[in-house]
Every structure is written in structure tokens, then in C-alpha cells.
Amino acid sequence: MKKDKPTVITGTIGVDAHVIGTKVLSRALRDAGFNVVELGALTPPEEFIKAAQETDADAMLISSLYGMAELDVRGFKEKCIEAGLGDVLLYIGGILGVSRHDFEEDVVKFKALGFDRVYPPEADINAAIEDLRADLRARSKL
């Protein structure tokens, strides 16, 4: 279903307290015309799912800086499907591993975990918003 103002959920997942990035991202999404449900930092996976159900969301843009995202999102895609959110786009960005490592590893890892797009540290949010529009269009949601 095409929407004028697609709804997106933002927040940092698990017990990640790094709120600044998701705040900046949320404001940029809002400035770009999205309807943003901003869950803020320290958001348990279940809350993301609940919010998406309640608002009929089109995408979740999840942040994680603290390095432990992998443990936080295990089984998350499956739970989304169970909750009837199989069609909701899943993006993740931030610093996705602990310590020096190759970002390409993250991409492989998080795609396998069910994410549609994976963003490197300090990702350009305007480019990400373009990606989001393209993906929504491809799904005839924009």
C-alpha cells in the first residue's frame, strides 16, 4: 500500500545507551518527511515489535554503537515474522562489533540475521534515507 508519509521506527536496541545518533537520525528522517516513532535508547527488541505493530510501520532503523548488537538481534527477524511484520524493512547501523574488525564482516553477519541493509560507523544519513526511499518504492510503499 502506497503511503504519503511512511512510518519508521527508530531507537538503539538492547541496553545500548548511545542515544545521540538515533536522535540525529530521527530528526533527519522527520525533516525528510517521514512519520518517525522515536523509541530512543535502551529499547528492548520486543518494544520495537510492539511499536511497529501498533503504528503499522514500514521500516525499522535500528542503531547500535556499543558493540553487542549481534547478541541483541539474534532471532529478531523471526520474531518480526511471527508478529506479522515479515514485510517491514530492517536497517541497522552504528558500530556493530567489539574492537577493530572489518565492516564487511558485519554486513555478512547482519544480513544473515535478517537485516535488509547494514550501515558502517558514521554512515551518511542522507544516503541512507535515499536507500530507504528506493526500498520502499521497490515494495510499492512509496
Binding site: Y66, V98, R100, P121
Partner: protein
């Protein structure tokens, strides 16, 4: 109704609360207070945070206080030894995020996975899961004095285990929890938690063991003048002093503008002393001052920029004659630092600290004088407003002040903060207010900020607003002090 007050907890109440703290995880049982005091007293002076800093002050030296923690005990021992050998006599023990949220089962699982995969799966040292016996092995593995870092939920139990293990300092800083770590806790809850640890440190002090509480204040989550941070740090100092803490270490956030940072390094301990004395805590020691690289700005991700920022902070700290300087590691923008990254960082830091302090450089100028006056005036105005709100009770005042926006800071994580203030840099890189919210800043000082902001507005031909604040936030990671529009 505000229940928490500025009043020393009576011993009975303290020991009652203690039961709940120790029962959070089975290692709580390992803590035996009597034995812990004996253990503490058996340690040499170089293991005591307060004494190490007092000695540095006397000798006119600066040392690095880093940030470090890795999940497995053996790795942690290797890490602290490497740091100590690189010339670091004060060591942290940074806990991981699961510990910080009392998710001890998850910690167990992550420890196992760390062993299996050979890679750290936690972003710090889970001191609670490891318990007293294991942690003592870390403390005893080198000659440094230790100070654990954690956040609100786990603060009390971390302290119990840390002090029993021979660590001799720990922050009881409730404002960072409120502003940066804890989404839903009220300031009242945060103060209540901090009072417990302060009371525990007070108990140790009564037995003759001086433990130090470093004071952090409300972290400016972005480019923001430092006065709220300093005022709240002093509030923390008063609160812990009331609970019997006998040594407090102000931790000054260096934001990159030399005159402002040096002013803050000088003025903060003076103001802290003044307020401690005013409320009768003359016997509380301020062993020295710590200057730290503000832990908030996005860090350069390239090796050169990272070393630039690290060493710069060390110059500023050394020029300011801070006894303790805490740079981030060169891996800050990348992930939890490797042991090598730590060592390289602190070698560079020590090079600077040593070379600069040897020269005993006197540094003063008009800007430092001005920034000192502004800072003193702002902090005083804020603290008086807080005391007024509390009818003389600093705790009550602080709680009301947050509600009223008399204490406020940008980009807070906590849902109870007002979030009506904003800062940007002026053209020379000093942090200025653009949105004052309800902060009780005197009018003539507001004018000073406005002038500086207008000057930059003119120079750059753009409005100083939220977007500029974001540009400024990224500047340091891009090799500049003042932000330029991001393409």
C-alpha cells in the same frame, strides 16, 4: 513528594539495604567487610587512589588515567600489566554493558562465547560475575591503584566487590546516569543509588580506609558550555561528602578550547572546595584534579587524527597542571581498543605529560581569565538557584531544578530531562549557549554568549541552530574545532 534528602544514612538502614545489594548475584556472598578492611589496610600506598594523586600533586607530575576492560580475567591481567608497564599508575576497571544492566546470565553466556571464539564478546570486565577472588588477582597483578567504572543499576554491587578486592576509588556520580545512561530513572532514584555507595565508602573511611569518589557531573551530550557539568559535579560532591566520603576527585571534561579547558581545570577544584567548606565538609580531601577528554564527541577514526586529539588533550591537561589526565584511546572511534592501541596511546600521552610538566610552564592570558570568571559566575548562579529551590537542601534542590529546567543539558537520554538548551562553538572554538532554556544564567553573561554567537553567525552567514550544533559535534573527528556544513 521528594523522599531523598541530603542526610547521612544511619548505619542500620545502610546494613539493611546492603542485604539486597549483595543478593543481586551469588558473588555478593564473597564480600566480607571486616576482612576487606584488613586487606585494604595491608596494601601499600601505591594502591590507594587518593594517596597516589596527592603524591603526584606534591611532585608536580601528571599521569594518564585510561579506560579499559576486557571480559576474561587472564586477558584483563595481561591488559592491566601492559598499561602499568607503559607508565600508567592509575587504572580503571571498565565494566561491560550487561553488567551495567544486571544481566548476569547473559554475561555468563558471553564469557563462554568469548572463550570459544577467542574474541571478546563483552565490551568490558564483568567484575560482578568474576567476584572478589578473581578480581583480587587482577588488582594484585600490577602496582597500580584501581577504580571501577560502571553505571547506576550495578553501581552498589560493583562497589562492594571492587573495594573488597582492593580497589580504592569509584564514581558515585548520579548525573551521568541520569543524563547519559539511564532512560527512565528519575534523578531522585539516581541520587538514592549514589548515596548507598557513598555511605559504603563512608563506612570504610570510619574504619580508616580512605576511598576516593571521582565526580563527573551531568555530561554535556554535545558541544555545550561546561558550567552545568561543573555545578552538578559540585552537587555530587556535597551529596557524597554528607554520606561520609573523605576524598573526592573532580573530573573536568576538556572540550577542546584551550582557554575554556584550562579555566575549568583551575576553577572547578576551587569552587568544589568552597562549597564543601561552606557546608561543613572541611575534612574532605581533594587530592588533585583530573582532566579528561570529553567522552562524547565522535572521535577521529584515522590514526593521525586520533593521535592528534589524544595528545592535544594531554597538552591541555599538562599545561593546566592536572595531576591526572584521561585521554580516550586511539581506537575510540573504532571499537573497544586493543591492548596495543592502549599502550601506544598512553606512551604518546606520557611523552607529552612528562615533557610538558618537566618545564613547569606558567600559562595565563586574558581569555583564560575571562573564561574563568564566566565559569565561576555561571556555576555560582546555578548552584544558588538550586539551593534556593531546595530551601537549603541540595538534594531536594537538584531534583526540583531538573524538573524546572534550571538544570538541563542537550541530547539527554533520560525522558525526565527538559532538553530545552543547546550549545554551539564560537568562531574561535569556545562552547557557547544558543538556547538558554530555563538555566539561571545572569543576564550580562547571557549577553556575552549572544555576542560570540552573533559574531560567528556573521562570519559564516548562517543561523546558529540545531544543524550547526550537529556540525560542531562532528568537527573534532574531522580534524577541526569548529564545524562546517556537512555535504
Amino acid at each position: 513528594m521528594i523522599k531523598v534528602k541530603q542526610k547521612k544514612m544511619d548505619e542500620e538502614q545502610f546494613f539493611e539495604r546492603r542485604k539486597a545489594v549483595l543478593s543481586l548475584w551469588h558473588t555478593g556472598k564473597e564480600v566480607d567487610l571486616e576482612e576487606a578492611v584488613a586487606y585494604q589496610k595491608s596494601m601499600p600506598e601505591n594502591k590507594n587512589f587518593c594517596k597516589v594523586i596527592q603524591k603526584l600533586k606534591k611532585e608536580g607530575k601528571s599521569v594518564v588515567f585510561p579506560r579499559a576492560g576486557t571480559p576474561l580475567v587472564e586477558d584483563e591481567i595481561e591488559l592491566v600489566r601492559a598499561l602499568y608497564d607503559a607508565g600508567v599508575p592509575l587504572l580503571p576497571c571498565t565494566t561491560d554493558s550487561y553488567t551495567r544492566h544486571l544481566q548476569f546470565e547473559k554475561v555468563e553466556q558471553a564469557l563462554e562465547e568469548s572463550i570459544k571464539s577467542g574474541r571478546p564478546k563483552l565490551n568490558g570486565f564483568p567484575i560482578i560475575n568474576h567476584g572478589v577472588k578473581n578480581t583480587r588477582r587482577v588488582v594484585e597483578s600490577c602496582g597500580a591503584a584501581f577504580n571501577p567504572r560502571t553505571s547506576r543499576l550495578s553501581n552498589s554491587l560493583v562497589g562492594e566487590i571492587a573495594f573488597a578486592s582492593g580497589m580504592t576509588a569509584q564514581p558515585c556520580s548520579f548525573f551521568p546516569w541520569f543524563g547519559s545512561y539511564d532512560k527512565t530513572a528519575t534523578l531522585e532514584e539516581c541520587i538514592d543509588t549514589a548515596q548507598y555507595l557513598a555511605r559504603l565508602m563512608g563506612w570504610y573511611a570510619e574504619q580508616g580506609v580512605i576511598l576516593t569518589s571521582d565526580l563527573h557531573g551531568w555530561l554535556p551530550n554535545g558541544v555545550f558550555p561546561i558550567s552545568i557539568n561543573v555545578a552538578t559535579m559540585i552537587i555530587e560532591g556535597l551529596v557524597v561528602a554528607e554520606q561520609g566520603v573523605k576524598s573526592v576527585l573532580p573530573l573536568v571534561e576538556c572540550q577542546g578550547h584551550l582557554a575554556q579547558d584550562i579555566a575549568a581545570i583551575r576553577v572547578t577544584p576551587q569552587l568544589l572546595r568552597r562549597y564543601l567548606d561552606r557546608f561543613g565538609y572541611q575534612d574532605v580531601i581533594i587530592p588533585g584534579t583530573a582532566a579528561q577528554q570529553v567522552p562524547l564527541y565522535a572521535f577521529p577514526r584515522d590514526l593521525g587524527g586520533a593521535f592528534g586529539y589524544v595528545t592535544y588533550t594531554c597538552f591541555v591537561g599538562a599545561l593546566g597542571k592536572a595531576e591526572v589526565v584521561s585521554p580516550r584511546s586511539i581506537d575510540e572511534g573504532i571499537g573497544v581498543p586493543t591492548k596495543e592501541a592502549h599502550v601506544d596511546t598512553y606512551r604518546a600521552a606520557n611523552w607529552i605529560l612528562n615533557v610538558v610538566r618537566t618545564q613547569n610552564i606558567e600559562f595565563d592570558n586574558e581569555e583564560i581569565q575571562t573564561e574563568s570568571k564566566i565559569l565561576e559566575a555561571e556555576v555560582t548562579a546555578i548552584l544558588e538557584a538550586v539551593l534556593n529551590l531546595g530551601g537549603g537542601d541540595i538534594v531536594v534542590g537538584a531534583i526540583k531544578a531538573v524538573d524546572a529546567g534550571v538544570l538541563d543539558s542537550p541530547f539527554p537520554l533520560n525522558i525526565h530531562a527538559r532538553d530545552q538548551v543547546l550549545g554551539v562553538r564560537d568562531s574561535q572554538g569556545a562552547c557557547r549557549y544558543v538556547e538558554f532554556g530555563n538555566l539561571p544564567i545572569p543576564e550580562e553573561i547571557k549577553d556575552f554568549h549572544r555576542e560570540k554567537v552573533t559574531a560567528r553567525e556573521k562570519a559564516e552567514g548562517r543561523k546558529m541552530d540545531y544543524y550547526v550544533a550537529i556540525d560542531d559535534f562532528w568537527a573534532i573527528s574531522k580534524g577541526a574545532l569548529v564545524g562546517t556544513p556537512r555535504q
